[in-house]
């Protein structure tokens, strides 16, 4: 439904997007992950027609981008960008009119969204008086007034407590199940793991790894991850080299990429004689994949 082909964008000498390509099928959530400055916001701005790409093509439902696509795309910005002094209902009615809905059509769509997003109790409440989670909900609802086929969610749960986050995840899954294709950008890897059927990791303006979580696991040459701290790191490194184990350093942490599944006791035995401060075992997760893919 969305296909991005060889997108390029530069600001002066700085290349922000470098032949970026990805596609999102119907009823899918595509997670776009990457460090700050990787090109996520520029990609979204181009998708929304706020910026022009220097090269490349974007197709929505087979059609190249133009103003017409504003009617099939819904964007949920990271900030709560609705009118705080208006009620939830007034915000929905206002944006319905902006998207060309009038009369009974506008009222009907507003009612539908209030019900679909469980906003009934707050429809006459000013947005300024809502909690963070409910503000996020109305922020999403406003992007749905014109029943878009594609929804872009930019950090939809940033700054929310766990309960509100779970509520919104359920809502996003319901939207996907209702037939909306979703592009999600997030820094919360747990969110991407939970929601996305396909994940693209973007770095320096291009996709460096892409696929389902299972497929992405293959980029880590490990069955398991051991996180180790030692007072004598040189000794530790010599030992793991002798076993042929690879290691990575993420910040101050030393990560051992275990080529096969071990239990903790076996690893401690293999590292016998090395002064260990702490050691723990983890399954390979999106965090490790992300760090591996964005490794310089």
């Amino acid at each position: 439904m969305i296909e991005v082909r060889d997108l390029e964008k530069s600001y002066g000498d700085k290349r922000v997007l470098n032949k970026l390509s990805f596609s999102i099928g119907p009823n899918h959530i595509y997670g776009l992950l990457g460090p700050n400055g990787a090109g996520k916001t520029t990609t979204i701005n181009i998708l929304c027609n706020l910026l022009d790409a220097d090269a490349g093509k974007i197709f929505f439902e087979g059609n190249p981008t133009s103003q017409v696509t504003k009617q099939i795309i819904g964007v949920v910005p990271q900030e709560i960008s609705v009118y705080l002094d208006l009620t939830c209902r007034e915000n929905l009615l206002f944006f319905s009119k902006i998207y060309g809905l009038w009369g009974s059509e506008k009222t009907q769509r507003t009612d539908e969204l209030i019900n679909a997003l469980n906003l009934q109790s707050y429809e006459k409440t000013k947005v300024a008086n809502l909690s963070g989670g409910w503000r996020r909900r109305i922020n999403i609802a406003v992007a749905l007034v014109h029943s878009p086929a594609i929804l872009i969610l930019d950090e939809p749960t940033a700054g929310l407590d766990i309960e509100a986050r779970y509520d919104l995840w359920e809502l996003i899954e319901n939207l996907k199940n209702s037939g909306v294709s979703i592009l999600l950008t997030t820094h919360q890897l747990e969110e991407a793991e939970r929601l996305c059927s396909c994940i693209g990791i973007i770095q320096k303006g291009r996709i460096v790894a892409e696929g389902s979580l299972n497929k992405l696991r293959s980029i880590i040459p490990a069955e398991q991850i051991a996180v180790v701290e030692s007072d004598n790191e040189n000794m530790l490194l010599d030992r793991i080299r002798s076993y042929g184990w690879e290691h990575r350093r993420y910040g101050s942490r030393l990560i051992l990429l275990m080529p096969q599944k071990y239990n903790l006791v076996d690893i401690v035995k293999q590292l016998d004689g090395i002064p260990l401060t702490s050691i723990s075992l983890q399954e390979v997760g999106l965090e490790h994949i992300y760090l591996e893919a964005t490794r310089e």
Partner: protein, 256 residues
């Protein structure tokens, strides 16, 4: 055409609802000119009859204490708030046409100005003041004044103010001296001749003189033509600069 009208109505309606909700601005825009009118009306009444004093005071108060703050300060605050809350960016993503947004804002301030005119002249009438000239000509002067202020508001809001805290600075720094020089609160006859010459470059002077001429003295188009020409030229300039700044602000917002 229908979609333009619908969009303009949506913007105007939204701004007016927000204004009613934000009672603080509404009260300021009503109470301040009302109190200023009563105060200056009574001060100038002195030995004269109060009716005549209110005849002369109402036009200046309407222009300087009512329309200036609502129609110049209002759009500046509105644009800054839209940028700060990122709602402007959301509107840019929507199919809303930029011209509809611009006209929607102008219309909402025409409605507000109409309400303020009713209040100011309502109070003046209560104290015996009257509108002596052509009401249509008076409305034309008021509309041109509103357009000038809103155009200037767009210019300042787009160019010089990025945060809510920045709003009062340019309005006070550029506006209040123009109010004083324009004879808002006292007759320009007390100005020294060199300041009077300078006052001819002040659009508020022409707004005041034109409206005072029509409202208090019952003058016609010929009598106030010089002020109308200045006011018309300034309105065109303000709207042109406002629209240009608005266009460059939208381009800047799109870049993020």
């Amino acid at each position: 055409m229908k979609s333009y009208i619908n969009e303009i109505m949506a913007i105007t309606n939204r701004i007016l609802i927000e204004l009613v909700r934000m009672r603080r601005s509404l009260i300021f825009w009503v109470v301040f000119p009302a109190l200023m009118l009563i105060l200056f009306g009574l001060i100038y009444a002195g030995g004269n009859s109060s009716a005549k004093s209110f005849d002369y005071t109402a036009p200046g108060i309407l222009i300087g204490a009512a329309l200036f703050f609502s129609c110049l300060g209002g759009p500046v605050a509105l644009i800054v708030a839209e940028r700060e809350r990122r709602t402007l960016r959301r509107l840019l993503i929507s199919p809303l046409k930029p011209i509809s947004y611009f006209i929607g804002i102008v219309f909402s301030y025409v409605v507000i100005a109409f309400g303020q005119t009713l209040i100011v002249y309502g109070i003046a009438f209560f104290f015996g003041g009257r509108f002596h000239g052509s009401i249509l000509l008076g409305l034309l002067i008021i509309i041109l004044s509103v357009f000038s202020f809103v155009g200037a508001g767009f210019y300042f809001g787009s160019r010089f103010t990025k945060r809510t805290e920045d709003v009062n600075g340019p309005v006070a720094a550029f506006g209040v001296p123009l109010l004083v020089l324009g004879g808002t609160f006292f007759p320009v006859s007390i100005l020294p001749s060199y300041l009077l010459k300078l006052a001819y470059l002040d659009p508020i002077f022409h707004m005041n003189q034109a409206l005072k001429g029509v409202s208090a003295l019952g003058q016609g188009v010929e009598d106030v033509s010089i002020h109308l020409i200045f006011l018309g030229a300034f309105t065109f300039l303000a709207l042109f600069l406002g629209a240009r700044s608005y266009k460059s602000m939208l381009a800047q917002e799109k870049r993020g």
